[in-house]
Amino acid sequence: MNKVFSKDHEWVTVEGDVATIGITNHAQEQLGDVVFIELPKIGAQVVCDASIAVVESVKAASEIFVPVSGEIVAINTELSGDPALVNRDAEGEAWFFKVKLSKPDELSKLMDKSAYDKFVG
């Protein structure tokens, strides 16, 4: 499945019933130098649009909202030792967490790339 995007600037890819989620390159540019990331715990049940992670840049703290519901099945531990990975490769290596989807229908309200590009204009 192609990458889709939320209005809160997360990207989502799906394999089977597991979504991989990170923040967009646009979001990374807006945040500036990332210095700390707080991730959810594996096994946590999360609901769509809840704030479940925090990105701290030199300037400020920003909440990360999960754009789908389900269970956290993996987190990217690379980010705790190297939070600046988000600045280098936001939409690749710097994924945040994987969610086993409980409501796959929620994906339908996310934007494709061209819609997201228009959204951030």
Partner: protein, 374 residues
């Protein structure tokens, strides 16, 4: 609310450099340039960073002679102004009747020829209107306030700032820390002090607004110089342990609590005679209930302005007033106020960040050694 933002004479220069411009104290100011806060911060610590600080309030307190002007100014600030040597600069505060800080400011006895009765004063952008009203209310009739609204202010900061300026004016290397000189830089009349807000050696250059772009371009032409935004200005001053008005200082906070007694000479502590002296002298005699301290979180998570500080028993003992990430320290750092009993260096505290108690320690300010040219 649609606020009309003011622009400094360097607004177009910032835009051309790709700066991200944000509203700050009523001005549209560069918060960062394309390389970002971290790179700008590190550049200033290693080379020379150029800041547009033209939003700050520059003014003159004008009297018939230095004796008259300094005596009048000493009624408004606790610093030793009468004792300023020609060309010397001091840091001080404007206090209210209750001894709270209305603003902090830099006061210079420029001793410029035919201007012997003038003091050059720089105040915070966010406070300048209130400060000017305060001056006009409290200065005696023989003195007047002259606003420097036709002036711009540039700061060149960092260990190699002196090397950059020396190329234009060799004599600048002899200028002492917290001293002033009137210099000619390629035909631009620049009023220069060796001071700043980064913990590094450096200069602040006051010029007429019409000359600001030319001076900026002259300095920017040097490969040692890069433009630095307000984001790095904040992380640099935080590491240097310096107060920011509205954070560490406000109208309820005394210079005693803020740890600024070094800026009040012994003679003035004893004799008083300035607005707010009663509280300053009382707290000198009896001590303070809370103190400004440096705080180093044990982990990697920054604790921001407003974060509650608890003792290890879970009782609130204070609050963080500035907090973030220190690029040179390479970790989170903060400044805050704690009850005096918990202010000793090495005291263990907890910071309540997103509902979790993060362990931290009280440390001695500054976070990095000052690199001033004494």
């Amino acid at each position: 609310m649609n606020e009309i933002l003011q622009r400094t004479p360097l607004y177009e220069a910032h835009k051309a450099l790709g700066a991200k411009l944000v509203p700050f104290a009523g001005y549209e100011m560069p918060v960062q340039y394309p390389t970002g806060v971290m790179v700008e911060h590190n550049w200033t610590r290693q080379n020379a960073g150029l800041f547009d600080v033209s939003h700050m309030g520059q003014c003159f307190i004008v009297g018939p002679d230095f004796e008259t002007t300094s005596r009048a100014m000493e009624k408004l600030v606790p610093a030793d102004i009468a004792g300023l040597a020609p060309h010397q600069q001091r840091y001080s505060q404007l206090l209210n009747e209750d001894g709270g800080v209305l603003d902090d400011l830099m006061i210079t006895r420029a001793a410029y020829k035919n201007y012997e009765g003038w003091l050059y004063v720089v105040v915070n952008a966010s406070r300048k209107e209130a400060d000017y009203a305060h001056f006009e209310k409290h200065l005696p009739e023989c003195l007047k306030l002259q606003k420097g609204e036709d002036l711009a202010l540039l700061a060149l900061q960092g260990p190699r700032a002196v090397e950059v300026l020396t190329k234009f004016v060799p004599a600048v290397s002899d200028l002492k820390f917290m001293h002033y000189a009137a210099l000619d830089i390629e035909g631009i009349a620049a009023h220069v002090t060796r001071s700043g807000y980064t913990g590094e050696d450096g200069f602040e250059l006051s010029v007429f607004a019409k000359d600001a772009v030319r001076l900026w371009n002259l300095l920017m032409a040097d490969v040692l110089v890069r433009p630095i935004g307000l984001g790095a200005r904040d992380s640099l001053r935080l590491e240097a342990g310096l107060c920011l008005y509205g954070h560490e200082l406000d109208e309820s906070t005394s210079p005693n609590e803020a740890g600024l007694m070094w800026s009040i000479a012994k003679k003035r502590r004893e004799t008083g005679g300035f607005i707010g002296a009663a509280r300053v002298q009382k707290e000198l005699a009896q001590g303070v209930l809370r103190k400004r301290v440096g705080i180093r979180p044990d982990g990697r998570a920054p604790a921001r302005d407003g974060t509650e500080i608890q003792n290890t028993d879970g009782h609130k003992i204070g609050v963080i007033t500035s907090g973030g990430f220190g690029p040179t320290v390479n970790g989170p750092i903060a400044i805050g106020y704690v009850e005096t009993a918990f202010s000793d260096v090495g005291t263990k505290v907890n910071l309540i960040v997103r509902g979790q108690a993060l362990p931290a320690q009280i440390i001695k300010l500054p976070f990095i050694p000052n690199n001033f040219k004494r």
